[in-house]
Symmetry: D2
Subunit: 387 residues, 4 copies
Amino acid sequence: MTSWTRKLRMGMVGGGQGAFIGAVHRIAAALDGQAELVAGVFSRDWDNTRLTGEQLYLDPARLYRTYQDMAATEAKLPPDRRIDFVSVVTQNNAHFAPAKAFLDAGFHVVCEKPLAFTLQEAEALARIVDRSQLVFALMHNYTGYPLVRHARHLFTSGEMGAVRKVIVEYLQDWLVEPLEKRGSKQASWRTNAAESGIGGAVGDIGTHAFNLVEYVTGDVVTAVCADKSIFLPDRTLDEDINALLRLRGGGKGVLTVSQIATGEENGLRLSVYGSKGAVLWEQENPNDMRVYRHGRPRETLTRGRSEYLAPAAMAATRIPWGHPEGYLEAFANIYSGAIDAIRRHIDGKPMSREEYEFPTVHDGVRGMRFIDKAIESADGGASWVTL
Amino acid sequence: MTSWTRKLRMGMVGGGQGAFIGAVHRIAAALDGQAELVAGVFSRDWDNTRLTGEQLYLDPARLYRTYQDMAATEAKLPPDRRIDFVSVVTQNNAHFAPAKAFLDAGFHVVCEKPLAFTLQEAEALARIVDRSQLVFALMHNYTGYPLVRHARHLFTSGEMGAVRKVIVEYLQDWLVEPLEKRGSKQASWRTNAAESGIGGAVGDIGTHAFNLVEYVTGDVVTAVCADKSIFLPDRTLDEDINALLRLRGGGKGVLTVSQIATGEENGLRLSVYGSKGAVLWEQENPNDMRVYRHGRPRETLTRGRSEYLAPAAMAATRIPWGHPEGYLEAFANIYSGAIDAIRRHIDGKPMSREEYEFPTVHDGVRGMRFIDKAIESADGGASWVTL
Amino acid sequence: MTSWTRKLRMGMVGGGQGAFIGAVHRIAAALDGQAELVAGVFSRDWDNTRLTGEQLYLDPARLYRTYQDMAATEAKLPPDRRIDFVSVVTQNNAHFAPAKAFLDAGFHVVCEKPLAFTLQEAEALARIVDRSQLVFALMHNYTGYPLVRHARHLFTSGEMGAVRKVIVEYLQDWLVEPLEKRGSKQASWRTNAAESGIGGAVGDIGTHAFNLVEYVTGDVVTAVCADKSIFLPDRTLDEDINALLRLRGGGKGVLTVSQIATGEENGLRLSVYGSKGAVLWEQENPNDMRVYRHGRPRETLTRGRSEYLAPAAMAATRIPWGHPEGYLEAFANIYSGAIDAIRRHIDGKPMSREEYEFPTVHDGVRGMRFIDKAIESADGGASWVTL
Amino acid sequence: MTSWTRKLRMGMVGGGQGAFIGAVHRIAAALDGQAELVAGVFSRDWDNTRLTGEQLYLDPARLYRTYQDMAATEAKLPPDRRIDFVSVVTQNNAHFAPAKAFLDAGFHVVCEKPLAFTLQEAEALARIVDRSQLVFALMHNYTGYPLVRHARHLFTSGEMGAVRKVIVEYLQDWLVEPLEKRGSKQASWRTNAAESGIGGAVGDIGTHAFNLVEYVTGDVVTAVCADKSIFLPDRTLDEDINALLRLRGGGKGVLTVSQIATGEENGLRLSVYGSKGAVLWEQENPNDMRVYRHGRPRETLTRGRSEYLAPAAMAATRIPWGHPEGYLEAFANIYSGAIDAIRRHIDGKPMSREEYEFPTVHDGVRGMRFIDKAIESADGGASWVTL
């Protein structure tokens, strides 16, 4: 029987009061009216979970004290009541265990990035997903922007020629002040290796930049040479990283990431230069994208133009050109892809992983490997390390 | 008893297959998880209504053949089932009757712009709303952008001084081709006076531009001198309008609107020059706004900055700076304002109209008057007409 | 005998200490090494002339007390010593008499805009120029930008189709303070009808905007409806003007000009929408120009690209793309055109006026007519006036 | 006796037909009417020199077959006839010998970058200059932009705090095609190690980027780790380089340079993030500069604003804000600084090197060292090399 007669039922782990990304997941998952949050454990603090659930108008019976309880209890509910998938939106050191628990209980998973706390966890998770054949979507939300998908099309189709040069920047400044000493929960866990893992900025936002390079070029980074910096006292994790990249196809690149770049907000910018053309895109102004070709007028492509955009870009667009879409809509595109894949699985016609537009557990392993190798390079005096 | 223990229940008139704006209303109304669509008559075509309802996973019992039936039937449902408000998203000539019907049945209303088919209808509706004390929100969605609200603050607080010069542009090009001859439903009714009223571009988008001027300046346009153009054969409504404006406070302005400005998408741009400073904002890039002061470095304000933005701007923001918001989020801000006002009404503590951040039926009357006077001016050879 | 074995010899009237535009003329005229300033009367104040001449390393024997003396004396010098042309860079009320004197003495003239103090003077000057067959270049320097010349090509060649809509803005803020009360010579004469004529902002910068419209479209403005404003106390000339335009070819337009638009510097911006495409150009960023075509990626043309720019645009460029040119270089292009025409005249092979890329006395008459009619319209309550 | 009663007399070595930069030097040197070209050897080809001299209206007696002849002959002319300084604008392998010859003959020198063919030549030249006490200006023309000078002020004054992160890009695409195989003289010598030296892109434009970093930060690069690329067949010099930088003050940086970045023109862009603020500047749009401070509205500074720009920035500006200046004007600022220094030397009151705003022979040595060390790093597998 088809799943298309109803909304999917969604559960959530994490995302209680004081968190940021949980609310984004809730809006994004529900944006197209295809999923409905029905259950959750929003915090290790039961009061937080109850309050959050109440504000979300959830049935109190579907609020849980632990993810283990939730996975077990939901699995026992009748098929027309239990959740279809769970979103794991906890901090980095609490991705693996709940994700594994829900996969083991037969649930599909949407997971925040970076995939796990360590590369080893990530690889273990990938094995579990592969065995289970369940849908696992990793929230590299920037790949959800329509023009990013068109950029990917321009390179993977060969239209831009061979990739020669990549410049990716991801610059923020929110850690330019010691917010972790002023009670900021966000800053506290992100500057704490026990909760974030070995990567600071490189884990939090460097993985997005890295993923974007591989997503758009369709190529693979094979080596990295990284220099990391810590400027504020008492910090132990990188605040800033500069890296040289080499790609399998012969291209070279620069990746520069910072959370102390004074005045920058969420400056993720990608420029890829191929032998036939180049693409320049900026996350803070995502509704257009520059395309250059040698000796030709520079082009600015705008979102929503079926006259010249690839189907994958058009499918990720909800409203006409000129009516700007933003971060939430891109985020929602990861969900809509995952929800489609889950519906296909429910309906007995699962998609192969190659058909996914959204990042998977294997992209998550790549990201964890990047953190590992970038930090290994930086700690080794910025020498080249194979990825 | 408080309404805050549940989502509000929403009905919809219009917005079936082939429409554009209905889907936007549905996403926007539900974005914050505070309202849920439960009933509707989406089209005069019953099949369209049924199909639309099915795709929205609605209870078939809450789909209706006519708005009259819906208003009457919903009114008889028990208070804990019936809709709290209705959104009227039909074409211009079908705003008045359903809006009146639902108001008469005691329902709050969110209505598309322009408010009505004629100024007379608009004025009648305003009288009904005023008598009823019900909430009536008019969808001038561009006033929902956070930085537009900050711009309004900058002028109404006096920080920018007296308004001297306004330049507002609203430029599109989608009617540069005769789409109404090629089966486009959107183009067909918008170029047909029997469905749109006497205004073409001036009604469809000129009213937004006009409303934005009055919203941001806090001032009132007192006279208009307009020149209208029709370039494509067989068109009878204005495709393009250029107008001079005079404001009550002594400022002057230019308003230029077009749906045949080749290459423009949804180019709503506002510049207001006051005696102390100026504000420049563009809808297609709504996450920043330029503020100029004589002899000082130019400023670019970015959305989400509590350090310097007015509370009204911050309240209209969901996610941090650097994570772009767009059209849907601004649209949703009109809904969130209306939903708050409706909850306050339900809870027996209605807001006064002055507390609304969202446009009301009286802004709708202003807009209809603007259409009337602009067309009167243009038909009189572009002479000055008092508004 | 050819003039190409030497630099042309230039004289100047005006441009002493305290003036702005005279120095610009001197740099621009000499930029290409084709002309050399050798004589001048820089001020009605002889001390100023002597000091200016000394700072310019001029031969004291070629400094004059009056333009009459200069015209008469230079005319008597042997052909291999006397000036070839004179630049008149005085304020508006002192263009006519020296221009006439030098023309009568057989000298070519480069003249600042607006052409004259009154329309009558302008028309008289045009008759003198036409009779004399001498070269007369009017300094509408913005037509000297390479991309403006390409824009003209795009419209006059028909590539952009019929002109439908023009939006031209020229916004400054330097008169937002009463500088004329604080000793500013520039502000003093520009706010004084006895020196500027009946136009304030409309004469000073409105004429540039008007000229740019006619230059780029190749069309003619046939009617204007203008509303003027004066905000500062004791001012009598317009500080700000908003106008509707109608073009002979059926296009419509908006012209908005201000010298009290707080925060604007020299914001001359032109957008022309044709039936096939549109061109958008901004003087403050003159090295690129946007070209739009319906349903196609937006193009940004950059200066210096022979692959796609018209010969007239390439001929006005000195250095390669990516190396920005500016105001002085555009200004110099008017001179280089005039100098070429003067050399051709000297060499006995005069160009016809149609071959000039630079504005002429007849463009100057158009500009004076525009001032007259815009002010007539504004003083008549912003009614339509035929141009 | 003061030199201020006359223009300085300039000679030139290089810059004949087919060259690009020589013409730029001539315009720039003469722009302010303070210097006049009177002598030259424009090419090793005597016909080229004669033709170039004729087109420049030079006295044939001042054209020379060799730089040796020119240096010797000019030195013997009476003081009121002989040149005051010479500009060396030849290709890289022909800077040292003529510069040395003219210095030895007692002439001041303006020299193109990179300073020499090898680091050894550069160091030798520096010793000669230091001994001679003559003025030697190196044409890192990008330091001549007014806003670059203001950026330097912002960092060296401490207003921006300690430098933490530098991102400098210099991207071109003109070598994306094998122009050296199609008769391009420019491409031919720049891709030939025998004429350019060991650096390709890194020498031609990387030295500008490097110099800009040290000029603006007032800091010194102490180590570099560079990865170089060659994509086109038969090329031997780097077309593209990515490098990590470390600064003495603790800052880190990324430098990325390319002449095969498809679609880029002359994209020199600098971002410097300090502990208190950041500066972002782009050469292709040099008339404004962004300044960021944490939690404050972003600022855009515009050229020519004495209200907030440093005196050094104002001194480098010729025309008011809003009237764009460009590449030639910045170039001319190097000349005006050199000419002032030469006048001071002539007048017997030489400036100390610390008073120069323009780059000197010692900046040239730094640049040659950068080429050496970047290539050493790249050839060593992109390892860290001390500078």
